[in-house]
Symmetry: C3
Subunit: 349 residues, 3 copies
């Protein structure tokens, strides 16, 4: 969807430096954008790349405007401005109203005339598909499912009985929403399944990644609040609650009944064990394992970076004896005390 | 499925304290159960919640009976009793016999008249679907697949050629059973694929989570014994064997040819490397990496909990020099010996 | 597909010790191969198993030939010879030309007459399916997708708009290729989606595991070069590039814009954070977290093996105070210096 730089500047609140009549049709990278593309510079440490760009214009911050050899769209938050302008140039496809003849839709389902149901989609009894929603090819919606206005269910997504998804959500292919939570009672060396009678309630503007799984609640519901963004291969267990506008990167997971606050940022591969409460505005870096509730906003970490194997092996071997090493240090400190007759300053445990 | 408290007490071996004629229709939580619901107290540390419950009755242990303000169903194992009573009140749906007209079933497949095949299900040649089994919408079964009595294959599950699944299993949507194991021989900087000619054999009463993957064996079979419970996004590699009644939480994995014993409990995110033997009754807590065989029953761990980022960063930086720190400690101990003329008591490596 | 030992020796460059006329029909393990099977011994530490084998012949290295009680096919790289011979005995099924009547193929799609499209497969507009390709049951290909010659797309795979897959690839069931990358700009406590307008380009001879996800690029493409092998439940984020003949085991992941070199070996569960460059011929063992670019070929590690829970707990508690312990060691060293009047030899930080 083409636009002039003047139109983009006006619509997205940028100051334009350059020719307002130039037409742009797409986005590109600083390094390889074509002359009909707009690009962006969000991180000034890449400023050196500016001078080689062939883009029609660069979206950038005031601090970088003088270094830009081509037109620029100046905005205090250039990455955000880029996101909006890119969406304007590359808008998501609209629903093409209609039900593909191979789709299987229960007679009692209510499908908006403006919704799009693709080939081999399945919609169960008493389910509702709101206006402008899309149900992708091979997606399977169970009974009593509710899909909100403008929500896009990807190909081969499974949404099980009773799950409610709000408006303007995007669910990527392969996601499974509403499978049974993992609940069993021990029974003389075997396991007795506990019925999972809750459901999953998903707010508006939620995005759910490919092959991500969100389990239904054991008794009450699993809840994903408005604006949550989940990446691929994420696991949300039964009765978890993910607070509004929290973002979770790929392969992260939340165990049963854990409540995550609003506006949290959860790094890739991070796992939270069950029954925790994580407050609002908590950032947890990648690949951490969270075993305690966290009240304080802030950043938390839990990974040890990979090292050359020989160095790693030596350190890992010492870790295996870390408690013994600590005891030896205490012993050495005591020996020193006996010699010097004074206590070590750092003695604190 | 409604029942009176008297019926539940009689059927599930509970002592009833209260009115045997009260009818319950569902389960609820201690905190929000409606007056037609039964709830449970399995962990006495939540006993304080008892006094506010509006449930018709609480399933609880003898030690908690006197604290219960409403009717109670007393049982030595209240969580197990709850699981059974909840199943009685919320029984799994029975198969609705019949093959949906959009299903594609090979002429040579044998499908029990009491089995249910949903929309767009696919059943390959010479496969067998036993009585009361359900094959969900869009599920794909290859050739020579066997599905046991009463087993429920979820929507969009893939079961590949030759896989055998026992009776009363539940396979949740998106699971893939019998894809090729990951086997390649190095070939001058490239990889030569090794045919994966084994299959997957799954016992009775197994539950397999959403988007979990179980690979077929390279030569012999991958085996999941009776009563195993696998959560979502679990990976079982070729030629692994998971012993009866072992339970594996989400995002855990077992690499090739590793044998896990019976009644093991594997925490979420835990990974076992290839070719290990893990004995019976081994518990491994979440997010561990198991690199050695384990013979002894017991509990094993391997995670470092996340901490406030500043503290974590300092400790992680020290870990990087742990071997050097240990050497310095040894040096300090030696210096002390030279001074005191005696050996440190803790000197053991 | 049966062959005589003489034929196999000639075709695969082995020296035959034994009767050239013996017919073999399948592969087996050393321990349980039937008399019509060929097996292999690649690791001499299993040599003791040779004497019990009932196989028709054993593929082995020159060093093991004298220990073999049955016929043998001697080759300098017995595992590679086994891979080739096994492929010869168990060749992958050929495409059965034709489009199943339940498949939905856009009028503008170009499907080779020799391609096989299974039940409920969906092919979008302007997509191309080359000769001898297979599109499995329920697989969904979007618009403008290109599938190369002889490539096998498994059941229920999703390949989104514009993705190009080369020749002779294997994509296992449930994989999702070309879903949106995970890109959002912060917007006053909410998130603004960034359109993901790049695609995914996959080379020849690539294998992609079950339920693995490969995201499309934000602006430019995500690239998987020739000969890459990805196991199950792997995550490749937007704009990543995986170099030719690199192999990644299950549950590993690469974050956005990270470039992995050629012939790398990435262990199961290993994660690389975003925007790194990993050189060629780098091996990273299982469950590592890679946070820095790696130039040097070699082996890198990052896991701490699980231990008996009591020992682990003690060491983990000490880790939590590792920085303080190190400070105390420094203090002890200083005290020793004050006593001895000389500097510790190991004092290096």
């Amino acid at each position: 969807m083409a636009a002039t730089l003047g139109q983009l500047a006006a619509q997205f609140g940028c100051e334009l430096v350059g020719d307002a009549g130039v037409v742009v049709k797409r986005v590109g990278t600083l390094g390889s954008a074509a002359p009909d593309a707009v690009t962006f510079l969000a991180n000034s440490s890449y400023r050196a790349q500016l001078k080689h760009t062939r883009a029609a214009a660069v979206i950038l911050a005031p601090r970088d405007r003088d270094a830009c050899p081509v037109a620029c769209l100046v905005h205090a938050e250039p990455y955000l401005a880029y996101a909006r302008i890119a969406t304007s140039l590359h808008p998501p496809a609209s629903a093409v109203p209609g039900v593909h003849m191979s789709a299987v839709v229960a007679a009692s389902a209510r499908v908006s005339p403006s919704a799009q149901l693709d080939a081999h989609a399945v919609v169960g009894s008493d389910s509702t598909i709101a206006a402008d929603a899309v149900v992708g090819a091979g997606a399977v919606l169970g009974a009593n499912v509710s899909i909100g206005k403008g929500t896009r269910i990807g190909a081969r997504v499974a949404v099980l009985d009773g799950v409610r998804i709000g408006a303007r959500c995007i669910v990527h292919p392969g996601a499974v929403i509403g499978a049974d939570g993992f609940g069993f009672a021990p029974d003389s060396g075997k396991w007795q399944k506990i019925p999972q009678v809750g459901s999953v309630i998903i707010g508006d503007d939620v995005e759910i990644g490919a092959n991500t799984t969100i389990d239904r609640g054991a008794i009450e519901d699993t809840v994903i609040e408005d604006g949550v963004k989940l990446d691929n291969l994420v696991q949300i267990a039964h009765n978890a609650r993910i607070g509004a506008h929290t973002i979770m990167a790929a392969m992260s997971g939340v165990a049963g009944s854990t409540k995550v606050g609003k506006r949290c940022m959860i790094g890739g591969g991070t796992v939270m064990i069950n029954s925790l409460t994580i407050g609002d505005d908590v950032t947890i870096t990648f690949r951490s394992i969270v075993t305690r509730s966290i009240e304080e906003p802030g950043t938390y970490s839990g990974h040890l970076p990979a090292e050359e194997a020989g160095l790693w092996r030596k350190n890992a071997a010492r870790f295996r004896k870390l408690d013994a090493l600590a005891d030896r240090l205490i012993e050495a400190e005591r020996a020193l005390e006996r010699i010097t007759g004074s206590k070590s300053k750092n003695k604190d445990d």
